[in-house]
Symmetry: C2
């Protein structure tokens, strides 16, 4: 199928990914990493996923520190397609800047905003959802993608969907955005069937987004349009922009005003938030030959490997009676004895050992290193 | 105090120490390693411990492959004090060769044999025991040192002690040597008070040892004496020597013949058999500053470090809610999150992750690597 006429893909590439330390570092963040063993980084995979929909109409917004790395990973993008933020100003400024740039090139353009560090394996289902979202957005709605929850996640916000949008294939009116719930509430949400994960994907006319923003944050909308009109004023104006997330700046008030539509997404989506999440994206290596015993032909199964998932070469891992997620990233042999669901991430200057259950707490290591004055390791 | 006149220390330096992989390797075995953070290897510490008793009368017996490393670690020893075995022939040949060499230098000599890879922290108590053992041995007994068991170990053999030896300070007649027991039997042994760990330390006249050996293995005794008489025949004769442990060759039959005496050893002794054993020899690092949280002054205790023991620099280890034994041996930061009693051993080419409870199974990794054809990593 052809790309969607007038559709632009906006890719905000930010976030430190501290729960993926020591793979993800401030200077080499999550979106630049190949976390699935595909040979392509999450950023590259995101752009690959969008090109069938947007053709060459892709804009990446990233921090100035990462602009060079982003351009190196995406050599097909022209210089004006990588917007380098002078400083972090949160997601509204990032996406709004891209919207203002696109608006000047095509006042009727519809933009779709997609984080650079998420994984969506089913390309066909993704394209179908975005095509419907773009059509609905063309009519003036702010469209968000509501991922069907597969488990009662407490780490994501939810979208409460209401009635069907008249004339639309699957789109529903959004009742409200709901903050990250506790475990009990999350279980109720999943049961209800009316609540979907807010995956942070928005599809909307560039002009509509900026006009909605203008209703609640007129200075921010005006500043972004002024930067797009005269890029020479970027540094001067950027520092004064309000630091606010797009959800709070536009999505939530627009939902209250009845302007938001949800397109249900029946596809698998993963934000690769931590090593437990990463594990589900990796193939199991149970069948690999990890010899034990003296006979030289015992297989991994016989030595008691359970659910071993390796990002890297499984031949670098020897498991005796155990399993988990292993990243042999320093060219060394890693041996695991008698530990289930362990997480071992080996890099040239830092090693992490934890469990899947404690994967969220890896960010505390990054905090500890910073407090210790070892930001060079973060 | 002066050294014991006519007393020679024999140090068999062998054994692969595969349960201490990846620190201990075939080419760099346990006895050459500093496993206590003292700055001296186990071999050096063993010789340091013996010099007050034997002065310069120390003989080390080791495999030809390690002779150069042994000489480098013990520059005070002359060339004839390091005996290099052409091939492994078990402990009777090793200790018997040294006995035969010493016998030629001093027909009345008493030798004490002490493994090169054990730890005895209380020097004073050790010296007192060996002085008594040497005196008893001078009278023609085969003396073994019976370590008072502190827990029902199943990994050591035991010595059953009987009546007091007339005229001796603490020495007892040995009833028999007992094989490694199961857990239930080990508990009974410890309760009885009559059974002591066989720490493999023997004190005996060199001539008595060889004469006893001659009773049960005349060819072996003759071969060892022939090598001592004409070192040029070493390679020719060595290959034909019977491969047998000193316990089976001499100690057990001598006990049956009423020729063995036990000197009780009221000191701490450790064979550093695995990383669980090693842990008990290392200082706890709970008080070290492992910062967490944003305030920059939280201590290790506050971040939930429990019983962290580090062989190396504790500053290389960051622990969030966990503990165990950590060897930062590759100059990298090691972070542990949410794992208690974990064992992490980091070396430049191999990394081990296990638990204290599974420390014995580390030898299975070495077997697996050999079966895989990666003996270079063992």
């Amino acid at each position: 199928m052809a790309s969607i006429p007038g559709f632009w893909a906006v890719v905000p590439a930010g976030g430190a990914g501290t729960r993926l330390w020591p793979l993800s570092r401030a200077g080499h963040p999550k979106f630049l990493l190949d976390l699935t063993g595909s040979g392509r980084s999450l950023l590259q995979t995101t752009v690959d996923r969008l090109e069938p929909l947007a053709a060459e109409r892709v804009v990446v917004v990233t921090g100035a520190a990462h602009a060079e790395a982003v351009r190196a990973q995406l050599p097909g993008l022209g210089p004006s397609q990588v917007l380098a933020e002078p400083s972090p100003r949160d997601s509204m400024a990032a996406i709004g800047w891209a919207a203002a740039v696109v608006e000047r090139l095509d006042p009727d353009a519809v933009i779709g905003s997609f984080a650079a560090d998420h994984v969506i394996p089913d390309q066909g289902a993704f394209e179908a959802v975005i095509r419907e979202a773009a059509a609905v957005a063309h009519d003036g709605h702010l469209v968000t993608i509501g991922v069907e929850p597969t488990w009662p996640a407490t780490g994501f916000g939810y979208i409460h969907a209401g009635e069907a949008l008249p004339g639309a294939a699957t789109a529903l009116r959004a009742v409200e955005f709901v903050e990250k719930p506790d475990a009990e509430r999350a279980a109720r949400y999943v049961e209800s069937g009316d609540l979907r994960w807010n995956a942070g994907m928005f599809v909307v006319r560039a002009a509509t987004l900026l006009d909605l923003l203008g209703q609640w944050h007129p200075d921010l909308a005006a500043g972004l349009r002024a930067i797009a009109a005269d890029p020479a004023r970027l540094v001067e104006l950027w520092a004064g922009l309000t630091k606010i997330a797009i959800d709070h700046a536009v999505a939530e008030p627009a939902a209250d005003a009845g302007r938001v539509v949800v397109v249900p997404a029946p596809f698998e989506w993963d934000d690769v938030g931590d090593f437990a999440s990463l594990a589900t994206l990796l193939p199991t290596s149970v069948g690999e030959a990890h010899h034990a015993g003296g006979d030289g032909n015992a297989s991994g199964v016989e030595t008691g490997i359970r659910e071993l998932r390796v990002l890297g070469d499984p031949a670098d891992v020897t498991v005796i009676d155990g399993g988990g997620v292993v990243v042999p990233g320093a060219g060394r042999r890693i041996a695991i004895v008698g530990l289930d669901d362990v997480v071992v991430v080996d890099t040239p200057d830092a090693l992490l050992v934890t469990t899947r259950a404690r994967a969220q707490d890896v960010k505390l290591v990054v905090e500890a290193l910073k407090a210790e004055g070892r930001a060079d390791l973060t």
